[in-house]
């Protein structure tokens, strides 16, 4: 495996509330290499966005990082102060949010957004920043960028706005871009274009992506590796070929279960009976056990650890036993 850009080790995020301490993220570990796309999937509320927010120090109050480490290259970033993280945001880690319609300031031109962001991070004058902004728009596939640069966000379509948002995230050539459901708000046809763009940026620039999504089809097409999250934990993580093709965790199996009726149908999120427990009512042991067809006694008593080979790990007692036996 090539150079690691981000590694998250045993990350824990807690919310102090009146009802007690909620554990939003529990013992999350993963890493992302240069130019790699790590997909992060899971039902709504699994903690995908929270993981991205923790990396960027954007956890909403009163949440806080209660344990673990986050390393960017070999620099520890989870304990940085405000100026420290501000030097990282946008400069070394870019971030994209779900809704391109609301991600841009309606009163500023796209060019103002870009030049402003470029000049915050790079020592360029106004003219140089504008030239760079036009290049960026070109690179993300905005036609006629030298003209379009002076348009306002509302003059772009949804897909084009998401391209602009991506260009903004790339202003200072960050090593990593965290994309939180970047296509969820877009039309299906536009989604495919954005996916292609992300792939292109990975191969041409070597930018790594943490791609948070609901869409298994998108993961299968875009990601190199995938982490499946459930109730604030990583259930399974590994290469896409393994986790999508031959998932081990019963929850991952449920997620990947292809809809059999149509040919060539991409694997889709399939409804698993029941719903994910809320943080206030996490069951003991494996938090998936109330919905798991293969649950055993031990599953109700002890939480499984994330174990396995370096490139494919799973948190499930079924496989812990195998390992012990082997």
């Amino acid at each position: 495996m090539s150079e690691t850009i981000l590694s998250v080790e045993n990350l824990r995020v807690e919310f102090e509330t009146r009802r007690g301490t909620l554990v939003a993220l529990d013992d999350i570990s993963f890493s992302i290499a240069k130019g790699e796309v790590l997909g992060v999937v899971g039902e709504s509320g699994a903690g995908k966005s929270m993981t991205g927010a923790a990396i960027m120090h954007l956890i909403p109050r009163p949440g806080r990082i209660a344990g673990g480490r986050i390393l960017l290259g070999d620099q520890r970033i989870d304990n940085l102060d405000r100026t420290g993280i501000e030097a990282i945001r946008g400069r070394r880690i870019g971030m994209i949010f779900q809704d391109p319609l609301t991600s841009l300031n309606p009163l500023m031109t796209v060019g103002d957004h870009l030049t402003e962001t470029i000049r915050v991070h790079l020592p360029l004058n106004r003219r140089q920043a504008r030239a760079r902004a036009i290049e960026l728009l070109e690179e993300v596939g905005i036609p006629d960028p030298a003209v379009r640069i002076d348009s306002y966000p509302h003059e772009f379509s949804g897909g084009q706005r998401q391209r602009v948002v991506i260009a903004l995230a790339l202003c200072a050539e960050p090593e990593l871009v965290i994309a939180d459901e970047p296509t969820t708000a877009l039309d299906v046809s536009v989604q495919a274009q954005i996916i292609k763009l992300i792939r292109k940026l990975c191969s041409t620039r070597g930018t790594a992506f943490m791609l948070i999504t609901h869409d298994m089809g998108m993961i299968a097409e875009t990601a190199d590796r995938v982490a499946v999250m459930y109730a604030g934990k990583v259930a399974e993580i590994g290469k896409v070929s393994q986790v999508v093709g031959a998932p081990l965790h019963p929850y991952a199996q449920g997620l990947m279960g292809a809809i059999p009726s149509l040919d060539n149908e991409e694997p889709r999120l399939r409804q698993i009976p029941g719903s994910m427990p809320s943080l206030t009512a996490l069951p003991d042991g494996c938090s998936f056990h109330p919905r798991c067809e293969r649950a055993m006694d031990i599953c109700r008593q002890r939480a499984p650890a994330l174990l396995g080979a370096i490139d494919h790990k799973v948190a499930c007692h079924l496989y812990e036993r195998e390992e012990v036996a082997a």
Binding site: N105, V120, V165
Partner: protein, 324 residues
């Protein structure tokens, strides 16, 4: 944009025409203008002569057209009380009211925005919650009470500022004397301006605060943080501008009401402005002054509205496109 300006101008004109009609009806039919002008011993023939000379025997429509014609040339008739042209009377008082309103508006705008932004940026701070409760008092206390309170504190108890009147005037033109060029003038302006502006200030402050809190929660601010933009830039370039878009409308209308509501403040402080003149006119049924004041206030609201509309369109590019 030009089409929009023209359309708005025409709309304003229509509004003014309707108000003129109201003013005309009041002028013409509230009491008999001839009776007001002539003495009790005038004969019926003489009255008829006056009536004809004033054109009061003509059809109503013609009279209205003439009225509008006179209004356009700033001829509003003669005050019954003072036996002087209304135009001259109002012009003499205009400087007092406009200076008072202008300073009050500036104070309320400046303080309102600064305090509103401050309490939006420090929503949990002690000063912010203090401001919130004090502003609640400011909104709910009637203007005359605030005026009397201020007079009591700063004039009667402390003796720092004059309790009433307009002093330190320097004539600029025939009709315009300004109090803005002397310390004395500012001293007498200060209390009335605060009194007049306080309500608007608290209103603007609360509005700016809530709008800004709203804007700070939006995705584009979050995305700005995630892009590494400095706080100051996010707050004052991105958030403030978006906050001010809805605030402008309210503020514009408030400026109109500041002038309209200066009546009360002018009365409390015996400030020789149009409001005081209007109040005297009401007491003496001086219809020419009343109807002219009505026209003037309407013109003011219409103008302010027009300007606000255009500024709004200028700031918000989405509206500019919708209009063209």
């Amino acid at each position: 944009m030009i089409a929009l300006v023209i359309r708005r101008l025409l709309q304003s004109l229509a509004v003014m025409l309707v108000v003129s009609l109201l003013a005309f009806v009041m002028f013409r039919y509230a009491g008999d203008p001839v009776n007001q002008m002539v003495g009790a011993e005038t004969t019926a023939a003489e009255r008829q002569a006056v009536r004809e000379s004033l054109g009061l025997d003509q059809p109503t429509l013609v009279q209205f057209a003439r009225y509008v014609g006179r209004v356009v040339t700033l001829d509003f008739g003669v005050s019954y009380q003072f036996r002087q042209p209304v135009t001259k009377l109002l012009a003499e008082r205009l400087s007092a009211t406009l200076e008072l309103s202008f300073v009050a508006a500036l104070i309320s705008l400046f303080a309102g925005i600064v305090l509103g932004v401050y309490s939006a940026l420090n929503p949990r701070g002690r000063i912010s919650s203090l401001l919130q409760s004090v502003s609640l008092v400011g909104v709910s206390l009637p203007t005359f009470l605030i005026g009397i309170l201020l007079i009591y504190i700063f004039s009667v108890s402390l003796g720092w500022l004059p309790a009433f009147g307009r002093n330190g005037l320097i004539p600029v033109t025939e009709n315009w004397s300004t109090g803005l060029l002397t310390i004395e003038g500012w001293k007498s302006l200060f209390l009335p301006a605060i009194t007049l502006g306080l309500f608007q200030m608290t209103l603007i402050m609360r509005l700016v605060r809530s709008e800004m809190l709203e804007v700070l929660r939006t995705d584009f601010i979050k995305f700005g943080v995630a892009r590494g933009l400095p706080r100051a830039r996010l707050y004052f370039r991105h958030a403030l501008k978006n906050t001010l878009v809805p605030v402008i409308t309210v503020v514009g209308l408030q400026i109109g009401s500041i002038i309209a509501f200066s009546i009360i403040t002018e009365t409390v402080f015996q400030w020789p402005g149009m409001g005081l003149l209007f109040l005297q006119a009401v007491q003496n049924v001086d219809i020419p002054i009343i109807s002219t004041y009505l026209l003037l206030i309407a013109l003011l609201f219409v103008t302010v509205n027009l300007i606000v509309d255009l500024i709004y369109n200028f700031i918000d590019p989405r509206l500019k496109d919708a209009a063209s």
